[in-house]
């Protein structure tokens, strides 16, 4: 397949500019392999002369099998007072030994005169020399024209002269950068149309999301004739981020019928997005276009019923095309059909208990439990209706004291009386907060019977006040995520008393884990005992 648009990923360079991101060399290599397997055309790996980590990355990236995907080194045009041959930064770019080198240069007169404090002519010479050196060394050269759109508005003739300088030196790509992210799609479109009448070299677009328009701006560029899109996975990047390749790819492939190489593996899109989030240590965006957990969720009773009647009518694409799934949210609006469907999605047989389960769910929701975001609590309700259900434990008493004496930090002390198989255990534990103390006391009590619960890690905890105008008498909803290895599940609790709500979520979490093991016929020993 011959591509009409090439995707150029800069997650590892511009994406890493996002506050809070710091990729190790191993992270960068994992992302490189992932994106190459996915079929991204170019991967910008970093700025080799900027730090030793990037230099190491380029050395090790050469050893990877990346198929048709090309790793690019990123840098800038030579310094104003250097010759290209003696510019340490350009030499660093060559030493990265990538087949493609991308260099950024100024395309705005204002920036040349006021930031670089150079003459317009000097900047043109720097562009030309730098591109020529890289071409002489056999590289494919991408010229990133920084601040192109702002520069074009200030002084269109000079902005074009910068592109022509790169073109005359043999640049393979002229990438027009909306560096500050302030342009509108119609500006991008008309400027690129004008540019294509003045240069012959293939055009690319590099957009930022400062107006929440980076995806639209990139698509407008393609309509105007651009053949390369620079962006990042999940749109991460400086300030508000870069153009999001995860949205762009299906928009190009499914909506605009453009030929893009990665479209052949479009059904891996959701997985790629989530894996990059994982490596970057970012929580995935549940509301992301195409790949978010909620991108194909249906909440309103009206819609949920209609979705089942005629799937295509309430979805803009089949979620399977991008490797995502349909999510039917259980909620007070949901009918019985949805509950059976949801149970089946979780691999549970609801059997004869449909009416009872439906009633239990309605009661739970009326109490404020909100099961739509708590698969674990939903599953527990279903499992408790199974004919062979036997509660794995019962909590008789649960007490927690929080004490602050002058000048001291508050401490919490919890005691739990728990019955398992007729045996009653009383335990006590202390922690900084009351919920942590309860958690410890419960685990102590359960541990002799179910050592496996030591493996459970509480990985997330959320508190929501349902009727805040009731102030301290308000109902509190607590949401807990628990994790063991790859497995994770969410449970909720609800009460006027935040301690009780937390305990409910915690107990549900522990019980579900034990019931799941029971079903598998597993023993209760630790999975990863030290």
């Amino acid at each position: 397949m011959s591509s009409s648009v090439l995707l150029y990923d800069t997650t590892l360079r511009d994406g890493a500019q996002r506050q809070g991101i710091s990729f190790s060399v191993a992270d960068k290599l994992r992302i490189t392999k992932l994106l190459a397997d996915f079929g991204i055309d170019y991967i910008e790996g970093g700025w080799p002369s900027s730090n030793p980590k990037d230099a190491e990355y380029f050395r090790r990236a050469r050893e990877l099998d990346l198929g048709a995907t090309i790793v690019c080194a990123f840098g800038a045009t030579r310094r104003m007072n250097n010759s290209a041959d003696h510019d340490a930064q350009l030499i660093g770019l060559l030493e990265a030994q990538t087949p493609v080198v991308t260099i950024v240069g100024k395309a705005s007169r204002l920036h040349v005169e006021q930031i670089l404090r150079a003459s317009k002519q000097d900047n043109l010479r720097a562009i030309e020399d730098s591109v020529r050196l890289l071409k002489r060394e056999g590289r494919e050269v991408v010229f990133d024209a920084e601040h192109f759109f702002d520069g074009f508005a200030e002084d269109g003739e000079y902005a074009l002269a910068c592109l022509q300088a790169a073109e005359s030196a043999g640049a393979d790509w002229l990438v027009l950068c909306d560096t500050n992210g302030g342009s509108l799609p119609e500006t991008i479109f008309t400027v690129i149309e004008a540019v294509t009448r003045k240069v012959k070299t293939a055009i690319g677009i590099h957009a930022h999301n400062d107006c929440e328009l980076a995806v639209a701006n990139s698509l407008a560029a393609v309509r105007a004739g651009a053949r390369q899109i620079q962006g990042t996975i999940n749109g991460i990047g400086e300030r508000c981020g870069n153009a999001n390749l995860v949205s762009l790819l299906p928009n190009l492939a499914l909506k605009m019928r453009q030929a893009v190489r990665a479209a052949e593996k479009l059904q891996e899109l959701t997985q790629v997005s989530r894996q990059v989030s994982e490596i970057a240590n970012l929580a995935p965006n549940n509301f992301a276009a195409y790949v978010g957990h909620n991108a194909f969720a249906h909440k309103g009773g009206l819609h949920a019923a209609a979705v089942q009647r005629m799937t295509a009518s309430y979805e803009h694409i089949d979620p399977a095309l991008v490797g995502n799934g349909r999510e039917i949210l259980v909620s007070e609006l949901a009918g019985r059909g949805n509950i059976r469907l949801r149970a089946e999605q979780l691999g549970l047989d609801i059997g004869e208990a449909e009416q009872i389960v439906t009633n239990e769910i309605k009661q739970a929701e009326a109490r404020g439990l909100s099961l739509e975001a708590a698969d674990g609590s939903f599953e527990l309700i279903v499992r408790r209706q199974a004919p062979n259900y036997r509660p794995p434990f019962s909590v008789r008493d649960l007490m927690v004291q929080s004490l602050r004496r002058t000048g001291e930090h508050q401490k919490s002390l919890a005691t739990a009386k728990v019955q398992v198989d007729g045996v009653e255990t009383l335990t006590a534990a202390e922690a900084n907060g009351p919920v942590a103390a309860i958690d410890l006391a419960l685990r102590q009590a359960l541990n002799p019977f179910y050592p496996c619960i030591e493996d459970i890690r509480l990985s997330d905890y959320k508190v929501r006040i349902l009727d805040p105008e009731q102030a301290t008498a308000a109902t509190t909803r607590v949401w807990i995520e628990a994790t063991v290895g790859e497995q994770s599940w969410c449970t909720v609790g609800c009460s006027e008393n935040i301690i009780e709500a937390s305990a409910e979520a915690l107990l549900a979490s522990l019980e579900l884990f034990i019931l799941r093991l029971q079903e598998k016929g597993a023993n209760y020993g630790r999975i990863n005992a030290a």
Copy 2:
């Protein structure tokens, strides 16, 4: 100023469809007042006949002073087999007594035939009848044409006939909905251009973000002649969300030079966005266009230095225009000038204490206190540095026990040892939750000295987990609003222990109230003693 584009907010209806959102009536009223003060033209309040909460909202919203802003009730066209006069749902819409009613009706032949299982003609009659009834009752009528763009692609003639049915019955607005969010900007543009040649009624756009194009689609609609944009604050909504009014407003006002009423208060944009996040109990998006904490942050050394040299060169707009700030915001308050300004806004003289107050604020913010949304805690820090400051009370010990025995609800018992003017009092109180118990015990102890505190009503209470991945060991921020008559103030507390965080906010709230009375030289008697 005559507006060229009107903003129609549906945060309270379509926004509330986002998974995890559940607004109380008090939340909805606060958002309504906030958006009206900001200058949003229309506020869609809810679906009156869908639940009693929404009916109560409309009753109470009528009592608010909303200036030129209009609250709209949302519903649907009549059922196929009803007459409009006897349709319970339409009657519910009229009973909401809003000057504007918005009704959604099908505009896709496929949906009419396969979801409604009705004839094309029946649907047209339902649209016409419903609009006519509402017009007869004197309402401004907004007709939301559901699935319009998909419907137009399937059968353009029928989609237009649906609009014409609404127009012939006197609809004031025809809003074209991209219900599934799958359309591209150029489709939106060309379809609206075609529509405006066939109908005379003003056009609106309702876009969803399933392709990460909702903002661009709304702008394309405006370029094609649409005069109303429906969207939500921060783009919250079902699936991937609705068009984000927070991005649209500055794009319209600053980039497209459109006349929009809310643009007069554009510098409040960041605050409005954050307050709605706070009420919805959502962490604000740091990377949001225009209003994110990072929207004008500069990380790369190159950029940061250049920004200082020539501000405009690396920012697409001046962040002050939208009430945002430059740099990575540790706090809005961080600079000293700002602290003096803020204190003056609150009518406080900071005197010689500027440096001490600045340090106190930095320490508080570093602990996670977030004084931006807690004027009361800020004021308390300032007041504590006044030369004549004397603590009105000091809490020696504070203890709370929460106990659940089998089959009983959890009860909390608090004891407080408080010193006022050298006199120590020990009190105990019981309540459903631990924070309510502490509140009662403290009031009992303080009441003999400051009877006025009986007048304080805690009117709002919010809990946010700052580092949820730390689970039950996470830091908790508690935010409390207290009210006496017309006066209300907000304080925060922060700790790993939710009880301690709540107590901190509560104590700050009580102390501030007493200090304010002291300043006025008022006695501490009750204001509205029964």
